[in-house]
Symmetry: C2
Subunit: 362 residues, 2 copies
């Protein structure tokens, strides 16, 4: 156990330095509770939940969670109005829609995800989440301060050294170094240039050198050896997503689950065609057909989260036909290393590996 891991365990109050990554749309309180009961930090992804659903889930966690738990929010800036781009995106989607026999929606795009706000702060306050984590930076300072005022920890993701320093300067308790391997959305917020995004092996030691707060490693960690590699690189602990998608406690869509368990999981890519922001998923038809050149990124996609509006109908129609052509199959590069397990088994396996690692720094 290294000093950084000791400091993290003490500050958070959990036996294992293992955090289940929040995964919007694929999990709820059931997964988080199972992880907490096994000695890790379970997370609830709030981004796509209605206010009612969020209150319901928070109520369950506040009552039943053993040990610390985390609720996660996006904190993007709502996009500028851009009807021309929305129209161009509908045109880009038309061939896919025609093949599926569905109509594209009319009118203006609707945001499927809202950023953290004063209203959401007031909603979560009664439940006093022990940890509130953010993706895409941080909300306004007074909102961060309000969380700290009830004793909550504030965590956020960094994809570059600059982002890690920025977060530390604004009082974050723990920074999550998100390697390029990670599934789902890149947490990048000081840049939109995807070539700045580096793998965990390069990013993590640089972030550990740059900040004094504990650093969690995220991206590409799915099994014991990955945990030990992350700790060797200076991590205080790990945040693991994809491996938890295969747990029975997750609400992973059956088509998503099947793709994760197949050879297709060996090929993931960054794409913005599902939401407007780069995120890593298993390559599928929508990613291939809408991506520019040799990439799965499209310069035509509307800004986050508006790109997802028109895609939703295509996704539903395709899924009803048993196709994952238009589904975001979020997965990290280590998806082929995942093995089916319960959340308790996975948490304990990764936790034991962490405790066994780096004895020379004990």
């Amino acid at each position: 156990m290294n000093h950084s891991m000791q400091a993290f365990l003490k500050a958070v109050g959990t036996p294992w330095p293992v955090v289940q990554a929040p995964m919007a749309g694929s999990q709820g309180s059931a997964l988080a509770l199972a992880v907490c009961a096994a000695g890790g930090v379970g997370s609830l992804a709030a981004a796509t939940l209605s206010a009612d659903a969020l209150q319901q889930e928070l109520s369950v966690l506040a009552k039943q969670a053993q040990g610390p738990w985390n609720v996660n929010f996006f904190c993007h800036n709502p996009p500028p109005d851009d009807p021309v781009r929305e129209k161009a995106w509908l045109d880009a989607l038309r061939p896919l829609a025609d093949r599926l026999g569905v109509s594209l929606p009319a009118g203006r795009a609707v945001a499927s995800r809202s950023p953290f706000s004063r209203e959401l702060l007031d909603l979560i306050r009664p439940y006093r989440p022990p940890v509130v984590s953010f993706h895409f930076g941080l909300p306004r300072p007074e909102l961060v301060g309000a969380i700290k005022a009830w004793g909550g920890q504030v965590w956020s993701s960094a994809t570059t050294v600059d982002e890690a320093r920025w977060l530390e300067q604004r009082g974050v308790d723990v920074v999550i170094a998100q390697g390029l391997e990670a599934g789902g959305h890149r947490g990048m917020f000081l840049t939109t240039d995807v070539t700045t995004q580096t793998s965990l092996l390069a990013l993590l030691p640089q972030v550990v050198r740059a900040v004094r707060i504990p650093v969690l490693a995220a991206g590409g960690i799915a099994h014991e050896a990955g945990v030990q590699a992350a700790l060797a690189l200076g991590a205080a602990g790990v945040q693991v997503g994809t491996a938890y998608l295969l747990c029975p406690e997750a609400q992973t869509h059956p088509l998503h689950r099947a793709a994760l368990a197949s050879d297709r999981a060996r090929h993931t890519a960054l794409t913005n065609v599902f939401t407007g922001r780069p995120a890593r998923g298993i390559v599928n038809r929508a990613m291939r057909e809408l991506g520019d050149g040799a990439t799965c990124l499209s310069a035509r996609a509307p800004a986050f989260p508006l790109a997802g509006w028109a895609m939703a109908g295509l996704r539903s129609a395709a899924e009803a036909a048993g196709l994952d052509d238009c589904s975001p199959l979020w997965a990290g590069q280590a998806a082929p290393l995942c093995e089916p397990a319960t959340a308790a088994e996975l948490t304990q396996r990764l936790g034991r590996a962490a405790h066994a690692a780096t004895p020379s720094n004990a």
Copy 2:
């Protein structure tokens, strides 16, 4: 020390499981000799050497190297004739050329790098290199067999699990798992799709599971913690490039050396604008201006190695003016973790870290 590392050290006959990566254009026998003398495996990059220069370097290595050494060749297929693409590339380069005040060359592109061949086999045979390594696959089976006939080991790079299996099936002694972090050319040869390229954290454990031969880890390893992470992931040893570029024994161009030591080294990207194949370097003007969309890759670049022909004059003119705008500044993502050291210091530092690692598997 894990079993795989023990097997590697025994088969190769070297004290440290540390291989200096061959780096065409930036090093010769001097760097390789220094690495060998310190207990690692020094490498000579033959790709850009004339026959005379190659013989000269091999003669030095055969006489003076302490312990095993390696000579590395490219084994790409010479590109098809494509005058239209060559012409389009000259058009793409014109704005850069105009700004530098140089003329673009006339006539047809000339290959700056030749693949391994029967002639090169005959040239190296008298020196009996203990290791011959290849990039971009393998040469014809009879050439591989001829190297093995004199007791030489044959190594090659894999960037995917499929490539690793392909190499093992063809008798390779050691496979080098090249993570996406690596500087210089991607060794990819069964695919041209850069989205298939994964980071070492994801690639290495999959390759270790897929093959029975020793696996060296390459990409993103520049300091002790990187070595220990690679060994935790199952590597038998490491191949390190960028860190050796800063050694006094390397012939790294002063502009390249300055870029590596600057904050610019934090931003590398894959580019094909210097040779026609994707390779990782510090982002510079040519990469930015010639890359398509948000990438540093151009669909217009002629096939490897022909893209380099017209760029050579631009590079010379820019370098004469003290600019690295048109120079390939090859570097891995871990460049910011490199610290200046002699080749002996670096080799011993990394080697000691390897021996200290993974005691639980001893």
